[in-house]
Each structure stands twice: as structure tokens, then as C-alpha cells.
């Protein structure tokens, strides 16, 4: 798996709130614009932060994407997802 296309998709979500809204409204249509394989598309679509970090993606970018879609105030929930419920 190449992380570059995944990072580009995540960064696009982060960079412009309108793109974040497009992703939230129709993830498949949004992700069709990126060269992602099926696994990559599934990971980004679900915003599975544990898998994204496990894939060695940039953790700042993963957090930014999560916050772009869920709000910066939800970092505790992000950490809870990331650590499998061990903390929050």
C-alpha cells in the first residue's frame, strides 16, 4: 500500500471544509477522485484511525482529518478510538 494517495485524500478533507462536507455527504463519490485501492478506500471511508496510524500515516494528518469531520473538541474520542478504549 502506498500511503501517498491516502494522505492526499485525508489532506483534501482537512484543507477545505467544503471538501470535508462533500466527504461526509457522499464518501464514495468524494473518494472516487483519488487513486485508492479497495482497502485504502475502505480505511479512509470508515476513518479507522487505528488502522491509519498502524499504516504509518502521519499522525497529525490523521488527527486533523478526524477533527475536520468530528470537531476539534472530540480529541478525547479520537484518542479513545486510537487506543482501543483504553483511554479517552
Amino acid at each position: 500500500m502506498s500511503t501517498h494517495a491516502v494522505e492526499l485524500a485525508l489532506w483534501t478533507i482537512v484543507a477545505d471544509p467544503r471538501d470535508g462536507a462533500r466527504f461526509a455527504a457522499d464518501p464514495d463519490a468524494f473518494l472516487a477522485a483519488f487513486r485508492l485501492d479497495d482497502d485504502e478506500r475502505a480505511i479512509v471511508r470508515s476513518l479507522d484511525v487505528r488502522r491509519l496510524i498502524a499504516l504509518n500515516l502521519n499522525s497529525m494528518l490523521v488527527m486533523n482529518a478526524y477533527c475536520a469531520l468530528n470537531g476539534f473538541q472530540n480529541i478525547p474520542a479520537y484518542l479513545q478510538m486510537l487506543n482501543g478504549g483504553a483511554r479517552g
Binding site: 489532506w11 502521519n58 499522525s59 497529525m60 494528518l61 486533523n64 477533527c67 473538541q73 480529541i75 486510537l82
Partner: protein, 283 residues
């Protein structure tokens, strides 16, 4: 000629602005005092241009282009992030000095990227809104090092950029009184599973290096070691190296240090000292 009159290291943690009441009161008060103390020193030194060394957090620059080092030479505004709670507004830049730093850097082989229009993230905006704005008519030149996306800006390059800025300020035909401020946190993890952890032993080691303005010692910190023991956020020590090199610092005074779990970082303030009036030496 313009004159370098001071240097500082200060935090840029966005959580200071976003959840100001989250930490224990003595920690929050310490950070507020630190911002006020640096602002007070900037006023005492009659600083009118602050060169601020920040770093993108993979929000400004995307996979299509990640500058190793960038200077804003034109319009500046911020912050990028609405969640900080500051209304995005223009930030006065010192365009003439910024352009001179860029040209001197090019002449010296620095591979600057530059921006004619730049929206700064929290690494420049938090210091501006919480500290510099207390200084009348101050202008800010934003500089961004890539501390966040591997491969990171080489530490040796950060030092060379600082030295180049030092020469550029001294040869600038203006009358600015200039301070260089490195921003960032001590140990902290951003977006990583360890986020919230603080390595106070590492931070104490760094504080010793800051007190001695020991760039050589800071430069020996390998990225692998820093990532493993102090977190991806601690790679911001490059910003301090640049500031120290620009000032020609030979010592530093640690004004305060707080380990603040609620703000997920070790946070400190330091003033950098040169052996004589910073602008009066020779290179």
C-alpha cells in the same frame, strides 16, 4: 541598519487558546505570565519586527508540495484554524525585511520557499494573538520549517537558516529592531497513541541545553530518539535551533517550564542571550 535585539522561545500549543481552563490553575497562570513576560520584554527592547519560527502541522501544506523552509514575504493573515477562537484577520508583515532575508538566503544557497500570501496556522497565530499583539505596532515575519512530515528539514539546515537570517538582518537598510522567536513545545505527541504523555526527564535535558544555548548538543538529538522518547511534536526543537543561531545566543534564561497534561505538552518560555548587543557583533 536593522538590529537584532532579542530572542525567545515560546509555546504555540493550540489548546492554550481552545481549552484555556482545562489545566490546573497554576499551570494556566504560568503560561499566561510567560506570554505577558515575553511581551513585556519585547516592549522593553522596543522591538518592532518579530521573526517567528513555526512549523506546519500538515494543515497548511499538502502532499502536493511540502516546503522544507518557507518565509512569508507578502500578505499574512491568520489563524488557519477556526477552532482557535481568534477571528481570522490580517497580520502586519515586515515585507521589506522578509524579502531581504529571502534574497540573502538565496545568495547563500538556502533553498527557501516563499509565500506572497500566507494564512498562518497556530504555530505563528497563537504567539501573535496571545503575546505579540500586546506590543504596539509590532510586525511579524512568519517562517515555517518542516518539522512535521518525514523527511523533516535537516537540523543543520535549520542552523544555517538562522545564521543566514542573522546576516540578513544586519545588512538590511532599515531601522527595525528585530527579535527572533522560536515556537513550539517540549515533549509532546500529536495525534499519536501516546498523546497526553509528557517526558519530563527529556524536557529537563533540553532545558539544560537551552540554558547553555548549546546548539551542538541539541543537534545531536536524533529524530529517532526524539520520536521514541519525546514525541513527534518535540521535533520542533529545530525552531529553537534556528532562533538560537539567528540570535547568536551563548546562553538562555529559562523563564518557566510546566508539564501540562491537559494541554498535552511540556511548555516553556526562555530568553536567549548574546554576548553583546545582538546587532553589534561581527560575522
Amino acid at each position: 541598519m536593522a538590529e537584532l535585539v532579542g530572542g525567545f522561545l515560546i509555546p504555540h500549543d493550540p489548546l492554550i487558546a481552545v481549552i484555556p481552563d482545562a489545566p490546573a490553575p497554576h499551570h494556566a497562570e504560568s503560561i499566561t505570565r510567560g506570554m505577558e513576560r515575553v511581551a513585556s520584554r519585547l516592549r522593553e527592547l522596543e522591538v518592532d519586527t518579530v521573526i517567528t519560527v513555526g512549523d506546519d502541522h500538515y494543515g497548511m501544506f499538502g502532499p502536493g508540495c511540502i516546503p522544507a523552509c518557507l518565509i512569508g514575504i507578502g500578505d499574512v493573515e491568520g489563524p488557519l484554524e477556526p477552532f482557535l477562537g481568534f477571528a481570522r484577520a490580517p497580520i502586519p508583515n515586515d515585507e521589506a525585511l522578509a524579502a531581504h532575508i529571502l534574497r540573502v538566503g538565496f545568495d547563500e544557497g538556502i533553498g527557501w520557499s516563499y509565500a506572497r500570501s500566507l494564512v498562518v496556522d497556530h504555530s505563528c497565530a497563537v504567539p501573535y494573538y496571545l503575546c505579540y499583539r500586546q506590543v504596539p505596532d509590532v510586525r511579524m515575519i512568519p517562517i515555517y520549517l518542516n518539522d512535521g512530515v518525514d523527511p523533516y528539514v535537516p537540523v543543520a539546515l535549520a542552523r544555517r537558516i538562522g545564521e543566514s537570517i542573522r546576516r540578513a538582518v544586519r545588512t538590511h537598510p532599515g531601522n527595525e529592531r528585530v527579535a527572533v522567536i522560536g515556537t513550539g513545545g517540549w515533549s509532546h505527541w500529536v495525534g499519536a497513541p501516546e498523546m497526553g504523555r509528557i517526558n519530563e526527564a527529556f524536557d529537563a535535558q533540553v532545558n539544560t541545553m537551552i540554558a547553555a544555548a548549546d546548539i551542538d548538543a541539541l543537534a545531536t538529538l536524533s529524530d529517532a530518539t526524539v520520536l521514541a522518547t519525546a514525541g513527534n511534536g518535540a521535533l520542533e526543537f529545530r525552531n529553537w535551533i534556528l532562533a538560537m543561531a539567528a540570535v547568536g545566543a551563548t546562553s538562555g534564561t529559562l523563564l518557566s517550564y510546566d508539564a501540562v497534561p491537559a494541554w498535552v505538552s511540556g511548555l516553556g518560555f526562555a530568553e536567549l542571550h548574546a554576548p553583546q548587543p545582538v546587532g553589534a557583533g561581527r560575522d
